[in-house]
Assembly symmetry: C2
Homo-oligomer: 180 residues x 2
């Protein structure tokens, strides 16, 4: 075997390891965030139902929120307790169904409603984290979204997130992984 052949063989095999690269944020030319792709193949860290932070009445439409994080960001958090730069948390909203098929009580996840995103991008946001809502008027999915004003999401996440702006206290998979 020549060393050239050996290198060619290596090159044909090595890309497998690059599949472990963390998917990061993708922006439009004018700085809006595109919705993350394939996040359902990331790691699920917890779900909640109609969760709210005020005494206000429940939302009009009962919904589950499923939270996902890149697998690589999860592993980094489990190893160090820190979320790496370019961490993305996707919150998928799914309407709560009941009394369908053989279901008689409780609630199951019914129809996809849309996503919101928390993104850590230290070189782009002075506060490190920014928040994006991809659900437009009438529930329409937006092709791109701009960061919400700081006082809208960031301030509460910063004050109450158990770790680095993240509501780890509500996500059992992250709580279990947290280094002691």
């Amino acid at each position: 075997m020549t060393s050239r052949l050996a290198l060619a063989l290596l090159a044909s095999v090595l890309p497998l390891s690059s599949q472990n690269q963390m998917p990061g944020p993708v922006y439009t030319a004018d700085g809006a965030l595109l919705p993350p792709q394939s996040y359902r193949e990331w790691m699920f860290v917890g779900s909640n139902l109609d969760m709210g932070y005020s005494e206000a009445k429940a939302p009009k439409r009962s919904a589950f929120h499923n939270i996902y994080i890149q697998r690589e960001a999860y592993r980094e958090y489990a190893a160090t307790g820190r979320f790496p730069d370019r961490t993305i948390l996707v919150m998928e909203q799914v309407s709560a169904g009941t009394n369908a098929s053989i279901n008689k009580r409780g609630k199951f996840e019914d129809e996809f409603l849309g996503i919101e995103v928390a993104l850590k991008d230290e070189s782009r946001f002075p506060e490190k984290w920014a928040y994006f809502n991809f659900i437009g008027e009438g529930g329409k999915a937006l092709p791109a979204a701009r960061a919400q004003p700081k006082e809208r999401c960031w301030a509460c996440h910063n004050e109450h997130g158990a770790a680095d702006n993240v509501f780890v206290q509500f996500y059992p998979v992250l709580r279990a992984a947290r280094p002691r």
Copy 2:
């Protein structure tokens, strides 16, 4: 570079591809199933809260059920509409919390309670699928579990599962992936 060094380098790199092998069931010598490992890194397909199939009253302890499937089994289902042999679905039970931290309404996932498993193993079970409960007396985690009697889980799954004994109708990620 010698060909021996090249082969050694290849050997050190090639195992990456074998990481794509689907994790399968592991049994004790006397045929009980061991609890699946690392299922939280599999694909999440849906959650539900206090879901029941009878008019009976709600369970004593409110709980979420998170359903996971091996990534390879998911891909096969998305491509063909069939669950491959050795498909495992893990149902993780997590108690429902409320009024903790800044949460004022709705429910979030609080404490890990245990897991149940649906397993397709065509060479072992005449009905292809079998069902296992790893939650013992007083909520104790069992180190291994035997298949439940056929009439306990299998019969209902077989009659009402939207696809191949699986309640796809309640799992939005599987519904979305189902070939048309």
